[in-house]
Amino acid sequence: MALEAVIGLECHIQVATRTKMFCGCPAEFGAAPNSNVCPVCLGLPGALPVANRAAVDAALRLGLALGCEIREESVFARKNYFYPDMPKNYQITQYDRPMCEGGALPVALAAGSRGFPLIRIHVEEDTGKSFHPERHGDRRISRVDFNRAGVPLLELVTQPAFRDPAECAAFLTALRRLVRWLGISDGEMEKGHLRCDANVSLRPAGQSELGTKTEIKNLNSIRGVERGVTAEIARQNLARLSGERIEQATLLYDADHDRLAVMRSKEHAHDYRYFPEPDLPRLRVEAAWRDEARAALPELPWTRAARLEREYAVPAYDAQVLGERRELCDYFEDCARGADGKLASNWIMTEVLRMTNERGWSIDDWARRVPPDRLREFLARVSARDIPGPLAKQVFTWLADEEGGVAELLDRHRVRVQASRDDLLPLVREVLNQNPGPVAQYRGGKIATLGFLVGQVMKKSAGQAVPQVVQDLLKAELGGQRPPS
């Protein structure tokens, strides 16, 4: 009996607001322990929450981008359980009336694009951080820091719509791109901006009802999700083969050892006693706010990628790479408008991305140094075969490091591009004289030899000749006609 896996994801997205979800503490990362805290996020007696508009707005934008239904009046609820990184021993979240429901995220897969349907998106608060137990005198202790407590989170729950771990990874990659695109989150999984739990069950292929599911927590990288889910599918398969029943359980994925550990919990432990948060009014998102947010949404990555393919005649692969980040897309479009799209995309995808990577610059850093008009001029020169290839790379580097247009840069570095017939003809003739053998081979029908001759001329010109011009001259000198066949 063939079994198929059914996987659902629960993603937590940390919203990049200035302040926390329910208080005015900075929501930044990396401060000294317990220094970004106040009575509210420390859960001091008497403190009360007030919801942050910017976090709600982020949920709204994400919900709209994914085509969710936005509830005009949603409800905050308390989820009650004891944990030392939770200041109040309850988490303010949303339960039976979340802000967004339904919707889907389009994901580009090898077999084409597919929309993965969502159940809901809601707003909640993050917990603090506790550290691995350590020795402290004659006993062991854990340290707790509440700087992260109360940072806004969006929880996004998918339908159990995934069939294999690769789909999960592709979904997360697309989700990460979207939250960055919308400016909601930095989306860096290593920093915990994006976290993921997965529900996994197996069932006979073709059966519609779901098997017993287990939940894997702690999937903190896209690779981790892929490997954790793979491991759990294997574990469940093995259990079934040996006739065991799958027990509902919570598992922790240990990425360092690629291992799953069952989380022990006392009987009856999971009774969260949800009830509406009495300290907060209902969360109202009026039609006007919703419509305004909808109108202000940027063109979404999947729509934009399709348009780039269409408008700039770039291959689908290029459109995907460029569409990874909104500012990259913007830069590309500014450079490619009225130019050779494919050429612009080649230079941006290879050279711009390589250089920004090497130097740790953002696309915005790059665009400040090389505004689109400068790159456009450069591309025009390359496109007109004004600059030979090896020289073009050099000019490109000068472009990044220095001021001025292409002509100015060439002057400054005392480079004369040898593009004219008069400049090059003496070199061409010299090469033909010095290489009688290859010349004979060429004339004998070995066309590939032309490449060798072009190379020799380029060498003599110290890389300053334009290869296409050299090639034309060589052909003319070798007889003004095609080699005999």
């Binding site: 009575p39 001091l44 403190a47 007030v50 009774d271």
Partner: protein, 491 residues
């Protein structure tokens, strides 16, 4: 009157004397401690924390505002930076808040001085101030009787003369019932009119900060000072608090409801006499009585004990021995730390209510109990809405009995809960209520009535309270002592 006797002044008069320089803030604050407190505090035990240095600092910092130099005893569940805030619970033993509650901030901004923290039932759970980790407060009119609760300390302190006004909190009658037992005014405002920021939560949807005073005018003065929206409390209303400046305008043209079915049985004779006395005073002052039946209080009590305990079970989860307060020493693992800290830190009544609330919210019971109670609450609000179509306010008992004796109800929770039968409805409906003293019984216990108003009905309640205050036979709290509170001669 000398500065030493300034404890007899109303808050309005006292601040006036301080502003014009006749009395210093220090004298105003200390006079209650040097006079009446010397005689009564050791026996009554109204105060949970006091600190002469903190009072002196507070007096020096007092600005010449509308409450200049006025000493205020605040219940021990309001966060203050200059005194411990412990909710009379072992679990918060010695805890000092790093912040002031919004109402405390507003008091200080008006020139008032926090004169100490008032004793209370632990976490405001109780109706007698017997459930305090510091021991009970006694009724200053009869030391064998309770002062009511849970804000028994502030009520008793205002009654014996420590300070002219005090702050409590009222979740199910915790200001109005002790006000009645101690013979002072006690206001529970409309939900959302006074900030709860810094009031340690018990039942979040029911809690309101309340005001004790010896005069209707002082209640108005404090309400004006404290009321209004607070950006730190999302449950406060944005609109301006109702204008109570007309508290002395009289009641001509107002109608009051007389739901006599409520005291047909189970209410002591002296209480009914007090109601009739108050009704007569109101009618003499030009108000009109309308009689109708009103929903019996049992439904409200039932609803209340489901909603309040559910919210409390969650609100009190934060007391776990990690970030503040008491921690049980012998806790090698976290589960033990939580369980031992909470078991050792909370008193019996608090544990009882946490257990009840946990049960009410737990899987399988939520719909039957919590959800039903929240629906019943809507029904109760409607009953109030309908009543206030027929009248401007209702006249009711504040409690079914005169102050009961210490120990009388501590072993019978349900009987204790039923002593709130007339006050709980207003918390469920979110509407205001005012306890008004109406003299004394022949054996020397205070008698009082309760006025219940519609949402934002504080102006009418205060006008009526004032009419009752000045309209009666010159009793101990009557017209002649309006500005000069006189403690009854020693019993």
């Amino acid at each position: 009157m000398s500065a030493r006797e300034s404890w007899r002044y109303s808050a309005a008069r006292l601040s006036n004397e301080v502003r014009r320089g006749a009395v210093t803030a220090m004298e105003a604050v200390e006079s209650g401690w040097e006079g009446p407190a010397r005689e009564w505090e050791a026996r009554v035990h109204a105060v949970a924390h006091h600190d002469a240095a903190a009072r002196a600092a507070g007096s020096r910092a007092a600005v010449k505002g509308p409450l200049a130099g006025v000493p205020v005893l605040v219940k021990d569940n309001l966060c203050t930076t200059d005194y411990p805030t412990t909710c009379a619970s072992r679990i918060l033993a010695g805890w000092r808040s790093p912040y002031d509650a919004t109402v405390i901030e507003r008091l200080r901004r008006a020139g008032a001085v926090v004169t100490g923290k008032g004793n209370m039932d632990e976490f405001a759970m109780g109706s007698s101030t017997e459930f305090s980790c510091y021991g009970p407060t006694r009724n200053p009119y009869d030391l064998t009787r309770v002062p009511g609760g849970s804000s028994g300390g502030p009520a008793a302190a205002v009654a014996y003369g420590l300070c002219p006004v005090a702050l409590g909190s009222d979740t199910g009658g915790s200001v109005r019932q002790p006000a009645a037992f101690c013979g002072v005014f006690g206001l529970k405002p409309t939900y959302g009119r006074l900030s709860r920021y810094g009031l340690v939560a018990f039942g979040s949807s029911l809690d309101q900060v309340g005001i004790f005073a010896r005069h209707a005018g002082d209640v108005a003065l404090l309400f004006e000072t404290l009321g209004g929206a607070d950006p730190c409390d999302a449950t406060t209303r944005r609109t301006a608090a109702p204008d109570v400046s007309g508290w002395d305008r009289g009641v001509a043209g107002l109608t009051f409801g007389w739901p006599a079915n409520l005291w047909a049985e189970g209410v002591e004779r002296e209480i009914i006499e007090g109601l009739e006395d108050a009704a007569a005073r109101l009618e003499r002052a030009g108000a009109r009585r309308v009689t109708f039946d009103f929903m019996p209080g049992e439904f409200a009590v039932a609803t209340y004990y489901l909603v309040a305990t559910a919210e409390a079970s969650s609100n009190l989860a934060r007391f776990d021995g990690v970030r503040y307060g008491f921690r049980h020493d012998d806790s090698s693992d976290l589960r033990a730390l939580y369980t031992r800290t909470r078991t050792g830190g909370f008193g019996p009544e608090v544990k009882r209510r946490i257990l009840l609330g946990t049960y009410v919210l737990s899987a399988g019971y939520y719909d039957a109990y919590y959800l039903t109670a929240q629906r019943a609450r809507t029904r109760i609000r409607r009953e109030y809405d309908q009543a206030f179509e027929k009248c401007d306010f209702m006249l009711l008992p504040a409690a079914p009995t005169l102050p009961f004796r210490l120990g009388e109800k501590t072993e019978d929770p349900l009987a204790m809960y039923l002593s709130d039968i007339f006050t709980i409805g207003a918390n469920l409906a979110g509407t205001p209520g005012l306890t008004v003293p109406v003299g004394m019984t022949p054996e020397g216990l205070p008698r009082a009535v309760q006025l219940l108003g519609r949402e934002d009905g504080e102006p009418e309640l205060l006008r009526a309270g004032r009419a009752i205050e000045v309209g009666g036979e010159p009793a101990r709290l009557g017209r002649e002592t309006e500005r000069e509170f006189a403690w009854p001669s020693k019993r």
